[in-house]
């Protein structure tokens, strides 16, 4: 990822950092260091990482843009350049978005592109009808969605489809919502109430987020077995306070988002220890360079930085703006769009 080109000149906020080091500071949010981390991401033009991650650039921009907006620092990036980049990635034939020029359009990057444009209130810059056609064209007779024309099916793509259409306010009268719901519910495992990528596939916190988010957008949360699924999600919290994504796996900051947002949508955030989770997320900050890593002591990256900030926002961190648990975007953007994804009340 390269954000250097999006950063406005003089955009250097690190002078405001208190600069304290050592153990105590690691438990405080290194706010300005994270801002600087995102700004400087991929600064070396010939950075090998930059080249290796080109295939998901659009999502990378969404992660950075969202995290910065949650921190109230979106104006550090050059809106105009980002929107130009996004526009260049729309495929003139299919209407879908590629992660970067020269790559193929895909459901995943189409959602990221629309999320970025919504955050910037710039949907009028692209051909939204073409996006709708792209998504409608990928729905299958069984209600599932292909990720692109080559035919891979996954519940992630069901999420992407309804999220994109919701943001465009075109979910009604475009796709077959009933069938889409039926397919997602066919991926629910009766053994634990969780969801996998396909019917029968193992329950996985990331895919549970996709399916719960899908049901939230389609207002079908009553189909969830909240007690069983909630049990499984709570078991993801480990003694370190961190959450894993499946049984017997290591904790990972990105699951703090996926598990936490699912529990939030289900009105069951209080079923895990927020305090311990917050401690775990903060322990994954890189106190020198800024940014979050998957686990304490590892190298930070933009993906975990986004989900670390998002998780802290859901936990109500005072320095962060609220984030919407279903769409993983700043709540003020969702409010501006007038969207109300379903959320269950705390019992």
């Amino acid at each position: 990822m390269d954000f250097t080109t999006f950063v406005k000149p003089n955009g250097n906020g690190s002078e405001l950092d208190n600069g304290a080091g050592g153990d105590a500071s690691s438990q405080e949010l290194q706010f300005w260091k994270h801002v600087a981390y995102i700004e400087n991401h991929g600064k070396q033009e010939d950075d090998y990482e930059y080249c290796m991650t080109e295939f998901l650039r659009m999502s990378g921009i969404y992660w950075g843009v969202t995290a910065l907006d949650i921190m109230g620092q979106l104006d550090r990036l050059e809106r105009k350049y980002i929107i130009e980049f996004v526009k260049r990635c729309q495929c003139p034939t299919t209407g879908g978005f590629a992660p970067c020029e020269g790559h193929d359009p895909h459901m995943l990057y189409t959602l990221s592109a629309v999320q970025i444009l919504c955050t910037y209130d710039a949907l009028d810059e692209i051909d939204c009808e073409a996006v709708v056609r792209f998504i409608v064209g990928l729905q299958q007779p069984d209600g599932s969605f292909f990720g692109d024309k080559w035919g891979e099916v996954d519940t992630r793509f069901s999420f992407c489809a309804v999220a994109t259409l919701s943001l465009l306010k075109r979910m009604e009268q475009t796709i077959d919502v009933e069938k889409a719901v039926k397919f997602v519910m066919s991926c629910c495992n009766q053994t634990d109430g969780g969801f996998g990528s396909k019917p029968g596939a193992e329950s996985h916190a990331g895919l549970i987020f996709c399916c719960v988010g899908f049901l939230s957008m389609t207002h079908r949360l009553h189909l969830l077995d909240v007690d069983k699924l909630g049990w499984w999600l709570c078991e993801r919290q480990l003694p370190s306070g961190g959450l894993n994504g499946r049984p017997e796996k290591l904790p990972d900051v990105c699951y703090s988002w996926w598990v936490l947002s699912s529990l939030t949508i289900m009105g069951r955030l209080h079923w895990i220890s927020s305090e311990k989770l917050q401690q775990f997320i903060l322990s994954c900050q890189d106190t020198e360079t800024g940014g979050f890593s998957d686990r304490t002591g590892n190298m930070p990256d933009i993906f975990h930085t986004h989900f670390g900030i998002g998780g802290l926002s859901l936990l109500g961190h005072a320095r962060l703006k609220p984030i919407n648990p279903t769409l993983c975007m700043p709540q003020h953007v969702i409010d501006r769009l007038g969207l109300q994804p379903q959320i269950l009340e705390r019992p």
């Binding site: 000149p9 010939d46 090998y48 080249c51 020269g102 039926k182 029968g200 596939a201 193992e202 796996k249």
Partner: protein, 434 residues
């Protein structure tokens, strides 16, 4: 540091050199004046030579070596291909640029490249290298799909290439998805399914909780139900060896559900009769303090598990499969207890024991309440599973000799287990306030 958007989105330099010798028969401008490019071209050519020479290439790896020692960084030993790490990033960068330049040409020009053998061969050469180093790039797999569609790449060779990618990245969903796509051109009976299972197993063996490998294996099982019996054996071996790989336990649960759904059982082999075949179920009865003597034959077992069952509504095959599958679940319950005694408590042992217990209890209730038709799989429709849940809630465990024993003995496993039983099986234990 450049401060325009150009390097973010399009490396301009690759388009700079217009008049270069078309050495590689690909209508893409590669700057051969640049020493680094020449070196990369040579390395890519060396790798390609290995591909051409060795039709049985089975693994690829990046060999950690930080400096260029002035000899070829391409190592080829006994069907194994290696590339020294110092050059990997340069080679990738070069192949990536070349491929993206191809993609940024006009559609007609791209089609021309795909259609001409010489040019598509050149393209494949860059694709091989790029995907071995970075298997996550969906677009590069798509170019291979286009080449397959134009008959420029053969399906068998492509199956081999994707297996090679799995040798370096056993978790590559792109590689598994590509294999499924390739198989869509072949008829199911022409496919070597056992080999596909081996590829899944190798990938799962090398990478714990390998989600994509186990999902792919489910797809294989779906297409080749004849593998049920061997899968039941192989998965037991796997979970005994990889005690904390829950993905493998989950897959075993799926295999069992599928076996039951398809009315599968192993015909008894004559002299042993049912006596040894259903031993695990007998032991489970003993564990639940149920008397041995009454359970000498299959009939008595059915009587205990499904008392007063209306036999006319259920086929003999269904009943045999029921006993056979419950026996496997009972076997797994005991296995989990034994493993726990050996290795100490682990989530996998607890979760898999519960899933097995749930299987037995639910299948009994299903058959008793006449809800069995079409609801064997855990993935029943939302309405079906809701209906079943309400049956489970209403079910009178006390009147059922086997299930009431289960409920009595399972209660000894602690508060949390009781809560789980209440939630999943509606055992109705009194919950203690915490």
């Amino acid at each position: 540091m450049p401060s325009t958007t150009e390097h973010l989105v399009s490396p301009k330099k690759q388009q700079a050199s217009e008049q270069q010798p078309n050495m590689e028969a690909l209508d893409i401008n590669v700057d051969f004046n640049n020493e680094k490019n020449v070196l990369c071209e040579k390395i890519i050519r060396d790798i390609n030579a290995v591909f051409l020479k060795d039709a049985d290439l089975s693994s690829f790896e990046i060999i950690q070596k930080e400096t260029n020692c002035n000899k070829s960084p391409v190592v080829h030993v006994e069907h194994n291909l290696g590339l020294e790490s110092w050059c990997a990033q340069h080679v990738y960068d070069h192949a990536h640029r070349t491929l993206i330049s191809h993609r940024r040409q006009s559609l007609q020009q791209q089609m021309r490249t795909l259609q001409q053998q010489q040019q598509s061969d050149a393209l494949a050469k860059y694709l091989n290298v790029a995907l071995l180093i970075n298997p996550d790039v969906t677009t590069f797999w798509h170019i291979r799909r286009q080449l397959v569609q134009k008959n420029r790449l053969s399906i068998n060779k492509e199956l081999q290439f994707s297996a090679l990618v799995l040798s370096i990245k056993p978790k590559s969903n792109e590689a598994f998805a590509y294999r499924r796509w390739l198989y869509s051109f072949q008829s199911a009976d022409a496919i070597d399914w056992p080999n596909e299972i081996s590829i899944c197993e190798r990938s799962a063996d090398r990478c714990a909780c390998n989600y994509h490998a186990w999902s792919h294996r489910q797809w294989v099982l779906q297409n080749a139900p004849c593998l049920l019996q061997s899968e039941l054996m192989r998965t037991e071996k796997f979970i005994r060896k990889h005690i904390s790989d829950y993905s493998s336990y989950h897959y075993r649960q799926v295999v069992l559900s599928r076996a039951y759904e398809l009315c599968f059982y192993m015909p008894s082999s004559g002299q042993t009769d049912d006596q040894t075949q259903l031993d695990d179920l007998r032991e489970l009865f003993a564990h639940y303090d149920l008397r041995w003597s009454e359970l000498s034959d299959e009939e008595a077992m059915v009587q205990l598990l499904l008392p007063d069952l209306n036999r006319s509504s259920i086929s003999a095959q269904r009943l045999r499969s029921f006993l056979y599958c419950c026996n496997i679940a009972a076997h797994d319950m005991r296995l989990c207890v034994e493993q726990r005694a050996l290795y100490g408590p682990r989530d996998c042992f607890e979760l898999h024991r519960r899933a097995s217990l749930k299987f037995i209890v639910e299948q009994c209730v299903r058959l008793m309440t006449g809800l069995a038709n079409g609801v064997y799989l855990p993935q029943a429709s939302a309405t079906q599973s809701l209906e079943f849940q309400s049956q489970l809630r209403k079910f009178d465990y006390a009147s059922h000799p086997f299930l009431s024993a289960v409920r009595r003995v399972e209660s000894e496993l602690g508060d949390k287990h009781q809560r789980w039983c209440n939630l999943h099986l509606h055992f109705g234990y009194e919950e203690r306030r915490v």
